[in-house]
Symmetry: C2
Subunit: 353 residues, 2 copies
């Protein structure tokens, strides 16, 4: 498919101080759009000036949550610009699409379209070892109808947001509240998809945890209320002397691309990594016995997020004296080195633009 | 709060043939809007020409499903126009708002605003014993930011859609597929709220059931996978010789206003109505023993929907020979008579405009 291009008359002023960018607040000069309807399929791929979109008030996405999204980043290393495993994001987008009855996209075409957009906007990518350009592909259902049915028409967009360092003062451990009241999702639901509704379901829990002084929530499964699932927007890993473990992809967890990459990295170094059911009780016991060495979260935003404390039903689990663990630190450096192209990563991980 | 009014230059042509209106496809001349931001609270209430809205691509509702909605109808009886318990809809809207971290609305003001809008649009209300004007209040999160947090700004809208009779050829029994694979929601999730994500989660199940020849899906609880919850957009009732029963509001079911009204109507007539956990096995047993007399769904769209067949894991449960039951028929007539103002209903149920 051909990608049309509409030029802006005037470019925006770029934000100089990358430390004050925050996350997802500023957007670049251009965006990518593509429409779907039943007769033509996906069509009208175009790169146009970033601007508001016009939607009928009856657009299905505003009523029935038929929306999915992705999140990845572009990293600058001098003149070089890299994407990290973008094919994985569009693969996951198609899995999300399938679960939400959204027609599939051509994954290869999407990677090409993204590269074209990023190349056009390369000056927006912060020249920084920590800041990067956040990329948000998303799909919204736009049929102007109120019947509860999959929409017949969709809009796919990619917008770009230069974003500051996740850790302004270097890697720092976070405090996590283990959620025992609210449930994010359950097997058979939308949990494995990056669907808007999952995040709506998490807001109240996140707000209440923040009020209690925690920065994130750890979700427990909604059926047995005891197996560990994932953090707000991260997967989670536990390090013991024998192994590194992470909850298996049980049908309610988002299959993180950072999670997958960390597992692959660790295995390639001969470390023992297991994906299985992990109960919160098991973690409490390991902690009590002094066998729990590190906990860390993995996700595109933070890369690696060392967990200094878990709080579960009145019990504080202080991990590694609330300090950054060796493995967390190593993985953070290793993965960011690969993402920024300072080090060669496994085949296909670094896509240069 | 004052409601501003912006007049249209030209009114649209009204659709004459109410039988071909369908549902939620045509919209009237005007819509109601109101904005929220943290500094001013809800403000700028206005009735303006129905038209597209302009949203930044980063508007939170397009990413994180922070949207809720309501659904009710205006009924015409000659020159008279009635709303059915609109206060209940705005009460429920506030419960949905609360669950999704959306600031509360003034329920009384909203009823007044709705009456004003309906009065202005009274000519759009079909003059029909079955067709009516569907009313869709909804709230969307509009902060132009990608951080996963409750939005600081919202847009509340009410749009109106003249809609045809739910049953074109009179009340007719439906065939329902008991969903054993997908889950709508679970206690601790968003199930009690009228949140977009719940409907996104239902799409695939609905599509697959339709492919198998069923018109609706009956949801089973996501924890034990055996207790009956509700139908796509209806609550459900079971009639035996002794009693009429419906699943209790267990934390994952939408508290339907038709459900509530039916319970109140039946009780006021001295009928025994119980709200409790009902397993699908119990229904199978009652059916086998010949004790299951009727099943019906309740909701704003269909009012009463007699169920002629339930299909569960290979077993067909044919109810009342697949015909409309006595109680279903009675309740349909009774409630529609009240809604259309042909009969006086309990205090507060009929709000004349
Ligand atoms: C719910 C959830 N879990 C996990 C992740 C981590 O996924 P990834 O490593 O692909 O960023 C995300 C990410 O964005 C998420 O939203
Ligand atoms: C999931 C769900 N359950 C039940 C109902 C019935 O609710 P009400 O009677 O208020 O229309 C609806 C209604 O619209 C619904 O969406």
């Amino acid at each position: 498919m051909n990608i049309k291009f509409e030029e802006r008359e005037e470019l925006k002023e770029k934000i100089k101080d990358v430390n004050n960018l925050g996350f997802g607040q500023y957007f670049t000069d251009y965006m990518f759009l593509m429409n779907y309807d039943e007769d033509t399929g996906w069509h009208d791929a175009r790169i146009v000036p970033y601007d508001n979109i016009s939607l009928p008030p009856s657009a299905m996405c505003l009523h029935y949550g038929q929306t999915i999204f992705e999140g990845l980043k572009a990293y600058r290393n001098g003149d070089k610009v890299f994407l990290f495993r973008p094919d994985e994001n569009f693969k996951r987008m198609n899995r999300s699409n399938d679960r939400l009855c959204i027609p599939p996209i051509d994954e290869e075409f999407m990677v090409e379209a993204l590269k074209k957009l990023i190349d056009l906007e390369r000056d927006w990518i912060p020249d920084s070892k920590e800041a990067s350009l956040y990329i948000r592909p998303f799909v919204i259902a736009i049929d102007p109808k109120l019947g509860v049915h999959p929409s017949g028409s969709y809009l796919l967009m990619i917008i770009l947001s230069p974003s500051g360092p996740y850790y302004k003062d270097g890697l720092a451990p976070i405090k996590i509240y283990v959620e025992d009241k609210y449930v994010r999702t359950v097997k058979g639901g939308l949990g494995t998809a990056k669907a808007g509704g999952n995040y709506a379901a998490s807001l109240k829990s996140q707000v209440e945890a923040e009020e209690k002084g925690f920065s994130q929530v750890l979700w427990i499964d909604g059926v047995n209320r005891k197996y560990i699932e994932e953090v707000g927007s991260m997967n989670i890993f536990f390090v013991t002397e024998d192994e590194i473990m992470t909850p298996e992809l049980s049908g309610s967890i988002l299959p993180g691309i950072t999670r997958k990459s960390i597992i692959e990295l660790l295995k390639s170094e001969g470390k023992k990594v297991v994906e299985r059911r992990i109960s919160i009780e098991e973690i409490l016991t390991l902690h009590k016995e002094g066998k729990l060495l590190e906990i860390f979260g993995t996700g595109t935003a933070a890369v690696i997020s060392p967990v200094g404390e878990l709080f579960y039903e009145g019990t504080e689990i202080i991990v590694n004296n609330g300090e950054i663990g060796e493995i967390s630190n190593y993985l953070y450096n290793e993965l960011t080195d690969i993402q920024w192209g300072r080090k060669k990563g496994p085949e296909g991980w670094q896509v240069e633009v």
